[in-house]
Symmetry: C2
Subunit: 500 residues, 2 copies
Amino acid sequence: MKTMIMERIKNKDYHDKIMSAMEAAALIKDGMTIATSGFTPAGYPKAVPKALAERIKREGIDLKINLYTGASVGDELDGELARVGAIKKRLPYQTQSDCRNKINCGEIDYIDMHLSHVSDFVRYGFLSKIDIAIVEAIAITEEGYIIPSTSLGNTPAFIENAELVIIEINTRHPKELEGIHDVYQPLKPPNRIPIPVITPKDRIGETYIKVSPDKIKAIVISDIPDSVKEFPEIDEISQRMADNLIDFLENEVDNKRLPENLLPLQSGVGAVANAVLGGLVKSKFSGLSIYSEVIQDSVLDLIDSDKVNIASGSSLTLSPKGLERFYNNIAKYKDKIILRPQEISNSPEVIRRLGVISMNTAIEVDIYGDVNSTNIMGTKMMNGIGGSGDFTRNAYISIFTTPSTAKGGKISSIVPLVSHCDHTEHDVQVVITEQGVADLRGLSPKEKAKVIINNCAHPDYKDALLEYYSNEMNQCHISHKLNEALSWHYRFLSTGTMKK
Amino acid sequence: MKTMIMERIKNKDYHDKIMSAMEAAALIKDGMTIATSGFTPAGYPKAVPKALAERIKREGIDLKINLYTGASVGDELDGELARVGAIKKRLPYQTQSDCRNKINCGEIDYIDMHLSHVSDFVRYGFLSKIDIAIVEAIAITEEGYIIPSTSLGNTPAFIENAELVIIEINTRHPKELEGIHDVYQPLKPPNRIPIPVITPKDRIGETYIKVSPDKIKAIVISDIPDSVKEFPEIDEISQRMADNLIDFLENEVDNKRLPENLLPLQSGVGAVANAVLGGLVKSKFSGLSIYSEVIQDSVLDLIDSDKVNIASGSSLTLSPKGLERFYNNIAKYKDKIILRPQEISNSPEVIRRLGVISMNTAIEVDIYGDVNSTNIMGTKMMNGIGGSGDFTRNAYISIFTTPSTAKGGKISSIVPLVSHCDHTEHDVQVVITEQGVADLRGLSPKEKAKVIINNCAHPDYKDALLEYYSNEMNQCHISHKLNEALSWHYRFLSTGTMKK
């Protein structure tokens, strides 16, 4: 233990601050705003939130906090705290089922934010002041600086703006992870200068997070792993979406609208996104680069197959097998992967400059190309918008993928009108389902409607969509029968299917 | 005439290209894509489109073009060509009534685009190839370069990507306008570098547009003025919105969330936006700057009252009186005004870097803060999204203003669900009506609903909104009664009022 501490916490002044998770958790009081490391779900603190939940249960106290993170975090944080009713307000993104259920029953106030906005909103004083930042790290340098673990998220801005900091040193991650991070924090306007990322491989900051030593109130030792799930086998639907995507990209290259090695790729989080990106392994493309939020297992496949030269993101969201593979070849992968703060990975400035090709998943798309990414039937929060808006809005080409149906065919993902709008008709350029590709660039709404219905809708719903989009409507710009526009969703809620 | 030509067209090789508007219009053939200068509505070509319309009428020919502009243009272009049925496809923004009517009856295909996207979409080959660019200019330099008139818009990218160029030299504008423009064109990814605007006053390009001389096929002399309307007197509702805005900004300064001289201001186009910005003349603020799209009359007031040091935009959208005032003091104003291409004035990169405070007008806002800027009752195109998305999405603080009612009280601008979504709940931070201010930052949807209804809705509609947003719904995240969500709009269409 002593050797480990000497190795991991090089600044000896910090050794006095080591305490148990339960002691650190006692610093957290009712009404506080707690901001943590962690991004989809990698590199979040685990021991202290578990201890806090344990304390709340044991002592039967009523303690509620505002919880700010990078993006989604694991059960040890969102799950444990949601189950003991300790979360009052939550931002900016979540995927944990107990947390989601409490949001959807109104017990947790959830702010569903663009990931690129969070650090700025904290910096500008738009959100409640951060009382304590809890940060997972792999080590502390001699200068007392923090070396983060498997994600960077909003950690630098949270630390800078927090009253106190608790560090969880997680010994499960090898020290060799040091050097993968690139910590850069923009100044506040009017003193902000260009973010100097010109290519995805540019390192513009430091490999550690600077912190004033007197802010650090507790250091806790932990070895709890990140709770990233294994990805399922790629199913036929995902495979067909991936094939359609690659056909589309090949066609863009053939028509000189993209260079042969494409442009930097972004892919959303989750199994479908992982499968779609993984489809590139078998493609003819090479010399690719990734400028995204999450580095999922498929990125390791793309690096191993020499398809990808550089991958920039904000987190290593690797399955247990993927993480093992990463750690077994850490020198090789570290050379090709950069982790950045999410305000840089998701920066509108950098995304538009690099010409990122964005690929995100939709819950539903309407006939004019509006996309719902968040609320099932307009009323049930799934996860949140995450970074999809940051990328979509500034992409070179913005692409959304979705299977054409859900719930065994009872839901059509192509609908007359989205029941909640996260990406507007102005932002969405390409829609891909297993049925085909709708390229909406340069099309008017009435042209879009035909392409989306004909190329992307499931055959079971095509006639009903064409009926909705009748000839009479075809005479206008955007048209809706306002008393029917949301009737498909209403029917599903009433009868269990969108089918008539 | 000869003196004027020698003065205005300094490159003598170009003198042979001078011809009548009718001769130049003969270059335009059926099926062509024509891209023009012009921005809300300033600096658009007038003589050639008028001649084209005249020719179509006289010869009874069927000639249809795709028409791309910077933003809205005047009657001589959109009006004349729409009335003779010569517009097949139109982008990215319009305000002319005949053009709008043809869009809403389905005769013109309209693509309602973010203004910052257009030049890139042309450059990337996402839109049909430009056959002819028609550009209004005040002069041509000895090198054969073009000095634009009262706007810059997409003109540089249109000229670079057009097959042929027609120039309208408009002698109504004094030669002294030269020097107001700052022409900068980004490279295509992957070779794009940071746009070096660090403060609103930075000039980063040239005062003219370079062009290959052999592209120029015609030069037409004209003296038709821009058709900007006089602004109406500021009404009581607009005055109260302006007062509410200033109260809000003062409160931000008091709470240290904004510096004393604020941050660069953006204001949308139109009478309400002009009135709201003009409200700052009587405020206590000074040392202000503007980083916007349009320079309207209120900006001259702000410069004259020493409130504003620098105003950057893409067009001089001045009323006839405003333009006269500008030209009478051109040296003074030229020192404080910069006209940029709209991809720079509306650049997400620059807007987020500078920390622009965006102020745009909404058609309607729903109880969760989604905004409709474009389609009345979800189905009737008003003007278009323009630059509101470019600014809103990247602003330091994004503000929307709207009178709480329209049509003499028969329409509530606060509705259960927007009938068309242009700005999502994730993007909209502050809503201001004459009733009050809803500051949505850091609020969950259910908190937003209460603040929007209580602070912004008209008393005539408050109870009905609170009834919609019932206690039962209050228990969830975002909730809608899907069979009622659009019933207010449906009721208006059926009965002529949203009132029950």
